[in-house]
């Protein structure tokens, strides 16, 4: 039996909020990746932040502290991809 792996996408209403969180996560040395939003996750702004599961709590804290608006976090099964934009 193969183990399933998941990606966690933070979704945003617009680029403004996504870029704002990206900047704040970078300042806090929290690893995240700017990612195209999978169509099955959202039809919102086209960008999302891919984040490791162990960093979710830290991200939630930073989101709250900086009053950043998100459209939630989506958990999707990891699929092979050839892209990567790591911060």
């Amino acid at each position: 039996m193969t183990t399933k792996h998941f990606n966690f996408y933070i979704l945003f209403p617009n680029h403004q909020e996504g870029l704002h969180l990206h900047r704040k996560l970078k300042e806090a040395n929290v690893k995240c990746t700017i990612s195209p939003t999978p169509r099955e996750a959202s039809s919102f702004c086209g960008m999302s932040l891919l984040i490791e599961e162990e960093n979710l709590d830290m991200a939630a804290k930073i989101i709250k502290e900086n009053n950043i608006k998100t459209e939630g976090i989506v958990k999707l099964e990891k699929k092979p991809s050839i892209w990567n934009k790591t911060c």
Partner: protein
């Protein structure tokens, strides 16, 4: 190129800091993408430009939520949005007799749509007594709109005092900071400002075609235009979240890059240092002009009570002739006439003749003020001989 002395900074500041030209050139040459559209690296880079500028503005004006900073094409559009997006028929608004037509003309339209408008009369030096705002209060007063400083006399308005009255009595306080931002401290929390409108191309050292407003959290107003925002593209209705609700269509990204750099210049230089320089030159100009016969100075004639704007007339010349001769004979650029502010000119007693307006910036030099004073002294002698 003819050497000029530019004293029309109240119309638009010039020159800009060198870095403003550089970031705009860099954007146009090397970035050039449309922010918020898709998710390409270039688009994200353009989005960072908007974010940088919002963060710089937030530092300067002490704005707690950067997503509530909205960019518009100029402050006139921002003021129109504040007035028309908030007021409804039956509402009452109080403003001053020193306002620019950016406020007065939209109010003229709104007054025909059932909105009551009261213009509180200011003193002949342009100053406003805050208690006069209280005296004009009505049961249906919903908004106070006030300039931070007059574009005609430079008179600084009691923003903090009026902001407190609005907070205590429960009305929205909107400030037109066109002549104040970059010259005097503006703090939305300390001054109880609900809607802060700003222009980019004057004291903030950005290019023309930039401006915007800040909307206090919790305050909702209507948008005046709708369209594509790059967000919620599956919906045919305008997003309700900010800044997208008010930022339809492609923004002036190169201009906003320049505005951000202009604000960064102020933050690096320090508003206090800018104020010190401007006050020193204003003192020099006011004292020098007082020594020249036939010159009339309007407004407070006190650098602590006004920004870097001074209106004058020279007996024997129309204000337009004075402005023309300063330009033609000495290369000094000023602005004459009514400065889009008929009510302000009526208040200071110059509606009929207008004034010649001299407005300096952080980049104005002492030697330039000396040339100005010599030039006006020369014209005074000539006018006397006619």
């Amino acid at each position: 190129m003819k050497q000029i002395i530019y004293l029309d900074n109240a119309a638009t500041s010039w020159p800009k800091p060198e870095s403003v030209y550089q970031v705009m050139d860099n954007f146009n040459r090397n970035i050039g993408a449309n922010p918020g559209r898709g998710s390409s690296s270039k688009t994200l880079e353009a989005g960072e430009v908007l974010l940088d500028t919002r963060e710089a503005l937030a530092k300067l004006f002490h704005l707690p939520d950067i997503s509530r900073i909205i960019f518009t094409k100029n402050i006139t559009e921002a003021i129109n949005t504040g007035l028309k997006g908030y007021l409804n028929p039956g509402d009452h608004i109080i403003t001053s007799s020193m306002e620019h037509n950016a406020v007065v003309r939209p109010l003229s339209v709104l007054s025909k749509a059932g909105i009551e408008v009261t213009y509180v009369k200011c003193a002949p030096d342009g100053s406003l007594c805050p208690t006069d705002i209280e005296k004009a209060w009505q049961k249906n007063t919903r908004m106070i709109c006030l300039t931070a400083a007059s574009n005609v006399s430079g008179t600084i308005m009691p923003i903090k005092e009026v902001g407190l009255i609005c907070r205590e009595r429960g009305a929205v306080f909107m400030v037109d900071s066109a002549q104040g931002a970059g010259h005097i401290p503006i703090d939305v929390s300390e001054q109880n400002i609900d809607i802060l409108t700003f222009t980019g191309h004057k004291g903030l050292f950005g290019p023309q075609g930039t401006g915007g407003f800040y909307l206090r959290p919790g305050l909702e107003i209507r948008s005046l235009i709708e369209g594509g925002t790059g967000s919620s593209s599956d919906k045919t209705v305008q997003p309700s979240f900010l800044p997208d609700k008010f930022e339809s269509g492609t923004p002036n990204t190169p201009g906003i890059a320049g505005l951000g750099e202009g604000v960064n210049f102020i933050l690096k230089t320090g508003l206090a240092a800018i104020q010190r320089h401007e006050r020193k030159l204003m003192d020099m100009m006011i004292e020098g002009l007082k020594q020249i016969p036939r010159v009339t100075i309007y407004g407070p004639a006190d650098s602590k009570r006004q920004t870097s704007v001074l209106s004058i007339n020279l007996k024997g010349l129309e204000c337009g002739e004075l402005s023309f001769l300063l330009d033609e004979r000495f290369g000094i650029i000023t602005r004459s006439g009514l400065h889009c502010a008929p009510l302000a000119h009526d208040t200071i007693g110059t509606f009929r003749q207008g004034t010649c307006r001299l407005s300096i910036s952080y980049f104005t030099k002492q030697e330039e003020i000396q040339v100005l004073l010599q030039g006006i002294a020369q014209l005074s002698k000539e006018a006397n001989a006619v």
